[in-house]
């Protein structure tokens, strides 16, 4: 019978005696500690100050995000603009036409963004009789909004892109061939009904830039046309768009081929302003799906023409007289840029 405690002391001493410290422990500890010993502990007040600052910043960001989501329609723009076609409506600094077009190919040295002005006065959006009770999203659409209006989608445009039945997106009333040429600011007088404005706000939240080419207010100012990009998901996209329709804001759907339809409208609009002598030279850009490219580089306030053939002396003179140095010509055959020159005036 052995006393346990002495035995325990003996066992512990024996076992401990077998252990030897390997050299390099300090180096291993310092390597494990990484940057070295902590030289000064941060005061508690400073720690809590950092926490409070981070919390305040987070709260501010959340509040701003909520305000941005619940704010009224600040702007109304197409859900997307193809990267190759930057088109928008503007009210200033463009003397020729409210249409703005920046060709993507050949690429002039122009900025890739354009300014946009909403075609209606901003302000609170009155609720329609149906009421807006939920925020729409891009997955479920506008949900329980007013019943969609029956609207027959227009057929897809012809392969040539010669679809002139509907005013192209982003085109102002004056540019749509409605008999009021030369007054790009006439649309400012248009004030869509509140229901249309509310629907536009809903569309802004619902439409994505992949399945939609944007939307436009129809000529009567009381209905909207949503441009659905033709493709595998166009049917779903149409249903999504129609869910935003209201009883007093009919919504039509038009299928478009991205890029081509937009440029078609631009070409048609500018064609009237081009010198007749240039009309035969308006070329079709292969990069644009065979669509003639003309437009205005809003960043430099220049008229951009994409022409085939060679500019004759008469053409150059006509261009200089009409546009001065506010024009540039891309030649389709040589893909070269022709800058205007006072020498053009000599003929």
């Amino acid at each position: 019978m052995t006393d346990l405690e002495p035995l325990l002391r003996r066992v512990l001493a024996e076992r401990a005696a077998d252990v030897e410290l390997q050299p390099g422990l300090v180096q291993r500890v310092q390597a494990g500690a990484g940057a070295g010993p902590e030289t000064r502990r941060r005061p508690g007040a400073a720690r809590w100050g950092v926490v409070a600052l981070a919390t305040a910043a987070t709260c501010t960001a959340v509040v701003l995000a909520v305000q941005a989501l619940t704010a009224g329609p600040a702007t109304t723009v197409p859900a997307t603009v193809p990267t190759a076609v930057t088109t928008a409506v503007t009210t200033a600094t463009v003397p020729v036409s409210p249409l703005i077009e920046v060709p993507a190919w050949p690429s002039p040295s122009s900025p890739g963004t354009t300014t946009t002005v909403p075609p209606f006065a901003p302000g609170p959006i009155p609720l329609t009789p149906g009421g807006v009770t939920a925020s729409p999203d891009r997955t479920r659409g506008c949900g329980t909004f007013a019943t969609a209006q029956p609207s027959t989608p227009e057929p897809a445009p012809s392969p040539t892109g010669e679809d002139t039945a509907t005013r192209p997106p982003h085109a102002s009333p004056s540019a749509s061939g409605d008999g009021r040429p030369g007054d790009p600011y006439a649309w400012i007088a248009l004030s869509p009904p509140p229901a249309v404005v509310a629907t536009m706000s809903d569309l802004d939240r619902v439409l994505d830039g992949i399945r939609f080419g944007g939307y436009v207010v129809d000529a009567d100012g009381r209905s909207l046309t949503v441009l659905v990009v033709s493709g595998p998901s166009s049917t779903t996209a149409e249903a999504l768009a129609r869910s935003c329709a209201r009883a007093d804001a009919p919504l039509h759907v038009r299928y478009v081929v991205r890029g081509r339809d937009l440029l078609t409208g631009v070409e048609q609009t500018l064609a009237a302003s081009l010198p007749p002598i240039l009309a035969p030279l308006v070329a079709a850009s292969g990069a644009r799906g065979g669509v003639p490219v003309t437009g205005i580089d809003v960043g430099r306030n220049r008229l951009v023409l994409y022409l085939s053939g060679t500019l004759t002396a008469g053409m150059k003179k006509d261009l200089w007289v009409r546009y001065g140095d506010a024009v540039e010509v891309w030649l389709a055959d040589s893909r070269t840029l022709v800058e205007p020159s006072p020498a053009w005036l000599q003929g």
Partner: protein, 185 residues
């Protein structure tokens, strides 16, 4: 040795071996002991600006060592470590095989073998104790610390230390009696 008088390197050089022995007794595994000591010293090193000013840096390191072990025990399965086989320890086998020729020599050899077996069994039983109970026994019977100091190291009340030690010793006695190797009282 006050912390303000010694650098971290000097302290480790002076006390490192003792800490490693303590870590080994706490863990029962040499490699695990090295890991435990290194982990604990890394923590101490990062706080050396305050730890070095402690009145007893050695006690501070000991406390970190024990608490790190208990933290390990909470975080992972301590029992995953393989235990020794049931074979007799080498020392016992050699003692039994040494072959004393006389009757007295045979009796002495049996006593030595029983003693070795008891110590080995006790070591194995120590490994099966909970880390806190094992730490109490190691600090009391190896480091010769009083209950108050042990309580300070573990961060518990002295009464808890006494109760833990009492229960651990009772467990060891019971287990040794069951195995028939100790007969400890």
């Amino acid at each position: 040795m006050r912390g303000s008088d010694v650098t971290f390197d000097e302290l480790v050089r002076d006390r490192g071996a003792a800490w490693l022995r303590l870590a080994y007794l706490l863990t029962g595994d040499r490699h695990l002991a090295e890991d435990l000591l290194q982990t604990a010293l890394v923590q101490v090193y990062r706080r050396w600006s305050s730890a070095g000013r402690a009145a007893e840096p050695d006690a501070y390191v000991r406390r970190v060592l024990v608490n790190t072990l208990i933290t390990w025990r909470r975080r992972r399965a301590w029992w995953e470590r393989p235990t020794a086989s049931g074979a007799l320890p080498e020392g016992a086998a050699r003692a039994g095989d040494s072959g004393p020729t006389g009757a007295a020599g045979a009796t002495d050899a049996v006593d030595v073998a029983d003693d070795l077996a008891a110590r080995d069994a006790l070591w194995r039983l120590l490994e099966r104790l909970a880390p806190r109970a094992r730490a109490v026994l190691v600090l009391r019977f190896y480091e010769d610390l009083d209950d108050v100091t042990i309580a300070a190291v573990l961060g518990v009340a002295p009464g808890t230390v006494r109760a833990t030690a009492s229960r651990a010793l009772a467990t060891l006695r019971t287990e040794l009696a069951v195995t028939g190797t100790g007969g400890a009282r």
